[in-house]
């Protein structure tokens, strides 16, 4: 029997109302590569940050080598032999590799002989694991793959026995991934323990010997990698909870009113996130976009709603070109043409949390009558309207003068939804409509979307909740790595099928 090097018992952690980790139990055996897999937001990173001492758990215990320890800061973890390589590197760009590695520990190693010794030790480490790093190179001259190696080297030099890697391949090219995996295998051969956090099934199957699956803050399964398959993991990851019941009439499909041709979109860092996407939506239809977060859905919605510039391709509304690489209509013009948008991140984009509720209820429509006449806001109309819709959408508390940040997530979402649906849009773009929203509000929001569909709106719904996609959509497309990797009529589609497409497996 191998004794676990790291053992977590009943770990709980919440941020405000959100419980990020619920009663997590986890055993990690010495000398293994242990994968932790789950969708974005499943609580993987939170859990590992607790192990690394960045966060403190609300309850639960952590044992290292059978000894219970109290981790108050990363320093405690480092002393106990735990190292972590973060998604975003923690390196000083204009220092050399050597300077970065001894940073924080320079007390004993900054001058003369000791520095020389540190350098020799590091060179030995580099040789053992075939790191191929020039210790005197400046970080800013190194590629991302090499920077990651510096992070690994830093942890090893500080005596890490357990090395946690948080989504290590997210920023790497395929060649760099191969190199990284070689290094990780040789680390394992030398007896180190590696914890790999990822949402990519291929990496798990490739590299790990054991795997734990997390979903919505809970640990839903542990297994040996050889006893499982991608399909099985995908199923566990996505979950198979009961479908929410939505009463949906038979589809009455009208003509195509929204069309996207060969669309490519770049993000702020100039990385192409949407690649050659084609899609059409008819009136009276809900088109669902399934996909793991970060596969281009955000950028797609932003481009369609006139917030983000199109790199190539075009977008047509009622047969009229509204966007191509040369020009695009801004969101307000699109609103006038009957396109509304419920953005996926309500705090960042959908509303202004410092505004009063009534100010957010007219946000984007504030210069239209009757809310304003010749640039002067009509307070009476706005208040009347606010009272009316807040009642209609059951926003609680029903006080239009309350600052928006004081409403709960679900009620904030209702504020946005009432605003965007009020003008009876012809095309409705919806991102993550029920993220962080309680059950009651979810049903309400779903029903509203169905009502809009029955009234003949063309709806594009992007969601990471498969249940939501399956229960609302008439047709489903799956996005992976910016591309549409599958399209299905929503008849007899299983979540397993979609899960595989979402993970880029099928």
């Amino acid at each position: 029997m191998v004794s676990p090097i790291l053992e977590l018992t009943d770990i709980n952690k919440s941020f405000g109302h959100v419980q990020a980790n619920k009663n997590i139990n986890l055993k990690i055996n010495k000398g293994t590569i242990h994968g932790i897999i789950g969708e974005n937001g499943a609580g993987k990173s939170t859990l590992m940050s607790i192990v690394f001492g960045l966060y403190q758990a609300n309850s639960g215990s952590i044992k290292i080598n059978g000894k219970e320890i109290n981790l108050r800061s990363p320093r405690d973890s480092i002393i106990n032999g735990i190292g972590m390589v973060h998604q975003h590197f923690m390196l000083v760009e204009n220092f050399t590799v050597l300077e970065n590695i001894i940073l924080g520990f320079e007390g004993e190693a900054v001058f003369g002989e000791k520095l020389q010794k540190a350098k020799e030790d590091l060179e030995k480490l580099c040789q053992t694991y075939n790191f191929n790093i020039d210790l005197d190179a400046t970080i800013s001259d190194l590629s991302v793959g090499f920077r990651q190696r510096v992070e690994i080297l830093k942890s090893l030099y500080r005596g890490a026995e357990v090395l946690i890697l948080d989504e290590p391949t997210g920023v790497l090219t395929p060649q760099e991934v191969d190199e990284l995996f070689k290094i990780l295998r040789s680390l394992k051969d030398e007896g180190k323990t590696i914890v790999l956090i990822t949402h990519k099934l291929i990496e798990i199957m490739d590299l790990t010997s054991e795997v734990s699956v997390m979903r919505q803050g809970e640990m839903v399964g542990h297994t040996k990698t050889e006893d499982t398959s991608k399909e099985q993991l995908a199923e566990m990851m996505v979950g198979r909870s009961v479908l929410l019941r939505v009463d949906k009439k038979e589809i009455k499909k009208g003509e195509t009113i929204f069309k996207v041709n060969n669309l490519s979109v770049k993000d702020d860092l100039d990385v192409t996130r949407v690649k050659d996407v084609n899609l059409e939506i008819c009136s009276g239809e809900i088109l669902g976009i399934a996909g793991v977060t970060g596969n281009g859905q955000t950028e797609l919605l932003e481009a369609l709603s006139g917030i983000r510039k199109v790199e190539s391709g075009s977008i047509e509304l009622f047969g009229e070109k509204i966007s191509d690489q040369n020009n695009f209509l801004n969101p307000r013009m699109l609103k006038e043409k009957g396109l509304a948008h419920v953005p996926e991140d309500r705090q960042r984009m959908g509303l202004i949390s410092d505004f009063k509720a009534h100010e957010n209820l007219i946000f984007g429509y504030h210069d239209q009558e009757p809310y304003s006449k010749s640039a002067i806001l009509n307070n009476k109309e706005i208040t009347e309207y606010s009272n009316k819709v807040m009642q209609e959408y059951d926003v609680r508390p029903n006080s239009p003068n309350l600052i928006t940040s004081n409403f709960s997530g679900g009620n904030q979402q209702k504020i946005i939804l009432s605003r965007e649906l009020n003008e009876n849009p012809k095309v409705l773009l919806v991102g993550q409509p029920t993220r962080g929203v309680d059950i009651g509000a979810i049903e309400f929001i779903h029903q509203r979307l169905i009502d809009m569909r029955d009234k003949g709106a063309a709806i594009l719904l992007a969601s990471v909740e498969l249940d939501e996609i399956l229960s609302l959509s008439d047709r489903i497309i799956v996005m992976f790595d910016g591309k549409i990797v599958g399209e299905k009529e929503n008849k007899n589609v299983t979540d397993r099928e979609l899960g595989l497409l979402m993970a880029g497996v099928a």
Partner: protein
């Protein structure tokens, strides 16, 4: 470091908007009193002198209101830009250039009927101040150059430009000092003593003039603009959350420019008070630091016209009462009162959060207890 976390929604408005500023102000005055004591004078006597100097006789009070006028303009200027989250430090330069606008309009159009000259001169002041703020605004919105840096630079540029103009271009060539000729007397704004003369009361000269009413009108203008029009709405939206503004189709570029131009224009109105109302000519360095003090006025007034009025009045009292003190108490110099202003800025601006969490949590606990009882 304080670890007190207060649920902001439970804090009554009067605690954060009245009690906290008052506590900060009191502290600033206590420390100032200490300075006066160290300088070898009696702080209580000094306070008496301040109150007498600024309220005790009608001419003193008129001076207080004259200073208040200037602070209202520069305080509002800072506040408007701040609602778009722009730190306009350039009120000083904008006021200077605004003065040029008043003068050029008034001297060139003095043949027109008097009230029309006034209106045009006010417009000129606003336009010139706005134009001076437009350049930093453009650089901020298009090139990302931070307005704090550019507006400070533009203060220096304005100062040098005006010295150049006053020495080489628009100087009154009958003398050597860097100032222009006087405007024709018939277009001067009526002064306070002219008004009281109509009412049959004779008082001695004071610089208070009709511009005071313009300042009061500006308070209403800013309140209306920021909270009652779609422009103010959009400016605040951009200031609070630029991403969301873009989502709603509100252009950050346009609103940064609008906010800065209105801000600069308001600062420019200081020129109306100084040139059309008081000295009737441009003198080198006439904004005399009002632009900077306006920042403190706005911070103390919480960027709201209702707060800016008393804050401007307070600084008016300090200016006027302060000069009285320096006159009566030889140990207290003019610079001592600059230090007092500095203390007020320090306590109400930089140390704003020194006592806020404690005070707010104290009241929240008190009020909760009352509710529970």
């Amino acid at each position: 470091m304080s670890n007190i976390v207060v649920d902001k929604s439970k804090v009554p408005w009067w605690v954060s908007n009245v009690i906290v500023p008052l506590v900060n102000l009191t502290l600033a005055l206590l420390v100032s009193g200490l300075f006066v004591f160290i300088a070898g004078e009696n702080p209580i006597e000094a306070v008496k002198l301040i109150i007498y100097g600024s309220f005790g006789y009608i001419q003193g009070f008129a001076y207080t209101l004259y200073y208040t006028t200037n602070f209202i303009f520069t305080g509002l200027a800072f506040a408007v830009a701040f609602h778009c989250r722009l730190f306009n430090i350039g009120g000083e330069g904008q006021a200077y250039i605004g003065g040029l606008g008043v003068f050029l309009v008034a001297i060139n159009l003095s043949f027109l009927p008097v009230p029309i000259v006034w209106l045009l001169a006010i417009f000129g002041a606003f336009l010139f101040g706005a134009a001076w703020a437009y350049i930093p605004a453009y650089l901020q919105s298009k090139r990302g150059s931070h307005v704090v840096i550019t507006t400070i630079m533009f203060n220096f540029i304005a100062s040098s430009l005006m010295i150049f103009l006053l020495v080489d271009v628009i100087r009154d060539t009958n003398q050597m000092a860097p100032h222009t000729v006087k405007l024709p007397e018939e277009i001067w704004l009526p002064s306070f003593e002219a008004f009281s003369g109509i009412l049959g009361i004779k008082i001695r000269y004071s610089p208070l003039n009709l511009t005071f009413l313009l300042a009061i009108a500006s308070l209403f203008f800013v309140w209306f603009l920021v909270w009652k029009t779609k422009w103010g709405y959009e400016m605040r939206a951009v200031g609070y959350n630029t991403q969301a503004a873009i989502y709603a189709g509100i252009s950050p570029h346009k609103n940064i420019i609008i906010a800065m131009c209105i801000s600069g224009g308001l600062a420019g109105l200081l020129g109306v008070n100084e040139i059309l109302g008081v000295s009737h000519k441009i003198q080198a360095g006439f904004p005399a630091g009002y632009g900077f003090t306006g920042i403190a006025v706005a911070l103390m007034g919480r960027n709201h016209p209702i707060g800016i009025l008393p804050a401007a009045f307070l600084f008016g009292i300090l200016y006027q009462g302060g000069s009285e003190v320096t006159f009566e108490m030889p140990n207290i110099t003019r610079y001592m009162f600059v230090a007092v202003q500095g203390l007020i800025i320090l306590f109400s601006g930089a140390l704003e959060n020194l006592f806020r969490p404690q005070i707010e949590s104290f009241f929240v606990r008190r009020l909760n207890r009352e509710v529970n009882a």
